[in-house]
């Protein structure tokens, strides 16, 4: 029982973490809540589906092409819609949501409400401590670790990372120090969209593709990011695993209430926030503190 909770929780947490990191990054740097974040993940999944099913491209190159395309769409979205209103937080939230709706409707028009599936990169499963885990889920977990290390290395070891962190801490001062803030924001946005697309690429084969697939994970990752502390990548990572373990524990300990796993996770979030209003690892900014 315990080993099953452990392993399934790690798998579920990994999926959430992969989605939450990008969302957290763009919030930390630009203070933007990008509600279109998971719609990139949807676009990437549908991209892979189209490329493999209609053009006959094998899964891995298809994922690469789709990743590039989605990142490009993310960039275009930022340039066209978000950039000009990025000072207004509520407007950013609304416009990204409206854009996500546009993507949803376009997908709905092209693919209709059918449930589809993208082919996996690897099929089969491994047995760990007597628990069966599909290779695709293991791959997801590996990619999460890779992405996390990559993001950490980028942020702390490169000049670009230092610039990104500078903008995150104080964009005005960063600007005065000669950092091109809007370029940094653009780069961050494409990294975030790219991460969402990566998530789409590796998770898609384990999912059902449908035009509303972006809403459920969106709510969950927002809750995760809030739980971990807005803007803290480390916090989101840990928050994702908290959610993963809570959900899996509910399934195992109260099978009749398995459908409540999402609600339970949200209750945990609300309770934690009651005691730590800035989340587990959140940094309360001077002007945001009460």
């Amino acid at each position: 029982m315990l080993e099953r909770i452990l392993i399934n929780g790690l798998v579920q947490g990994g999926i959430y973490a992969l989605l939450a990191i990008g969302f957290s990054l763009i919030f930390g740097v630009a203070r933007m809540i990008n509600l279109a974040h998971t719609s990139f993940y949807m676009l990437a999944s549908y991209g892979i589906y189209t490329l493999t099913r209609y053009l006959g491209i094998p899964a891995i190159p298809a994922a690469a092409i789709s990743l590039v395309l989605t990142t490009f769409i993310g960039l275009a979205t930022y340039k066209l819609f978000i950039d000009r209103v990025r000072e207004h937080h509520v407007t950013v939230m609304l416009i990204t949501m409206a854009v996500a709706f546009v993507y949803q409707e376009v997908i709905l028009m092209i693919f209709q409400g059918h449930y589809l599936a993208a082919p996996p990169f690897v099929s089969g499963f491994a047995q760990i401590l007597g628990v069966r885990v599909s290779f695709q889920h293991l791959l997801t977990f590996g990619v999460v670790i890779l992405v996390l290390v990559g993001v950490w290395a980028l942020l702390s070891k490169t000049r670009l990372g230092i610039a990104i962190r500078a903008v995150a801490q104080d964009s005005e001062v960063a600007n005065l120090m000669g950092i091109n803030v809007s370029r940094i924001l653009l780069i961050t946005m494409s990294i975030a969209a790219g991460l969402s697309a990566v998530a789409g690429a590796v998770i898609a084969p384990t999912l059902v593709l449908e035009p509303y697939m972006w809403t459920h994970p969106l709510v969950m990752i927002m809750a995760i990011v809030v739980l971990g502390g807005l803007g803290s990548v480390k916090g989101s990572f840990i928050g994702a695993f908290v959610f993963g373990f809570v959900e899996v524990s509910v399934v195992f300990l109260a099978p009749e209430l398995a459908f409540l796993k999402g609600a339970f996770a949200l209750v945990v979030m609300v309770v934690i926030l009651l005691f730590r209003p800035e989340g587990l690892f959140g940094i309360a900014f001077e002007e945001e503190r009460l």
């Binding site: 409206a98 709905l108 709510v219 609600a263 979030m269 926030l273």
Partner: protein
């Protein structure tokens, strides 16, 4: 007395084009049943009335006090379920269940407010998002009582005729919007709430430093916002004769925000205009069902990009100008202020 009223009417309404337009619009709306009895048109207008209350209540809570609520459907749904269950299980008539439903929404408002008092900005928005989802979980747990995905159906009607329904919903809408307008009017001599709400949004710390008990006013905003959203929800349940999980949907919460921002946030009349344009437009677009939602989303994007202050405010600013000296509104063609004669250009 009468003459005085008439004079006020002339000065405060006729002279300000925005208000005159609103007056004409409402009178025309009042006369609709005389022109057409088409039940479909009346239904559209009834829903516009109901959703106008809903959108305005969001504006009061989020636009004025800055507590951006992403789960406004919670109040709508709580009231809808409460009044539905009271009506069905205890046989209470709609005129009793609607106010009780709204009071239940007030309770929900206070409950949500408790974490909200400690949270700010995006944290608050995202936490409020969670509440309707948690409640949905509860509804699906006690299906024997709540009907689960079927909802609670077979409620009694508000009245037996569509025209009466229309006039009731219209009256309720007018009264609710008037009350909310007065509560948020920063210049009001009667209540201080308007100016305090503004202060909380602009700078809560300063407001507190000025001796305002901001907690009390935030609570008040949640309670009032919840109450009117609840009125809308309970009315909707009785008109549809069903309260179901879709009343708590994320989509409904977002619609309130979209209508408000489309019309003009922090203005009370903005959301009313937003709903009255957007809702019938969506009904009209039924002739092209394939791209209906796409057009909806497209319009929202364009409005947000080019008229971030909303369509109603945009038009009002084109029609009215404020006197730089006495702050009175004037028609756009006037060169001097109608009260103090100051030069307007």
């Amino acid at each position: 007395m009468l003459r005085r009223l008439l004079k006020d009417f002339q000065g405060d309404i006729i002279a300000v084009p925005g208000r005159l337009l609103a007056l004409i619009f409402f009178i025309m709306l009042l006369l609709v049943p005389l022109v057409t009895n088409e039940p479909y048109i009346l239904r559209t207008l009834i829903f516009a009335n109901i959703f106008a209350i809903f959108a305005v209540s969001w504006d009061l809570l989020s636009g004025y006090t800055g507590q951006v609520n992403f789960g406004h459907a919670l109040f709508f749904g709580v009231a809808a379920y409460t009044s539905a269950l009271l009506n069905l299980k205890m046989g209470m008539p709609p005129w009793a269940t609607i106010p009780i439903g709204a009071l239940a929404a007030v309770v929900a408002g206070v409950v949500v407010c408790l974490p909200a008092l400690r949270l700010r900005g995006p944290y608050l928005s995202l936490v409020t998002l969670a509440f309707p989802l948690i409640l949905l979980g509860i509804i699906f747990t006690f299906t024997g009582f709540t009907g689960g995905e079927f909802g609670v159906s077979g409620l009694s009607r508000v009245s037996n005729s569509r025209v009466t329904d229309f006039y009731i919903s219209f009256g309720v809408m007018l009264v609710s919007v008037m009350i909310m307008w007065k509560l948020t009017d920063a210049k009001s001599a009667l209540v201080r709430t308007g100016i305090i709400f503004h202060a909380i949004r602009e700078d809560e710390i300063t407001a507190r430093a000025s001796g305002i008990n901001t907690i009390r006013y935030k609570l008040l905003a949640f309670a009032v916002g919840g109450f009117f959203a609840g009125i809308a929800g309970a009315f909707h349940a009785h008109f549809m004769r069903i309260a179901g999980p879709s009343n708590l949907d994320l989509f409904l919460s977002f619609q309130a925000i979209i209508w408000t921002v489309f019309g003009g946030i922090t203005s009370i009349y903005g959301p009313v205009v937003g709903v009255y344009i957007m809702y019938p437009l969506m009904e009209f677009l039924r002739v092209v069902p394939e791209i209906r939602m796409l057009i909806f989303a497209g319009i929202v994007v364009i409005i947000l990009l080019f008229m971030p202050e909303g369509i109603a405010v945009f038009i009002r600013d084109k029609m009215e100008q404020t006197c730089p000296r006495c702050k009175l509104s004037n028609v756009w063609w006037r060169k001097t202020c109608r009260a103090c004669g100051a030069n307007l250009r």
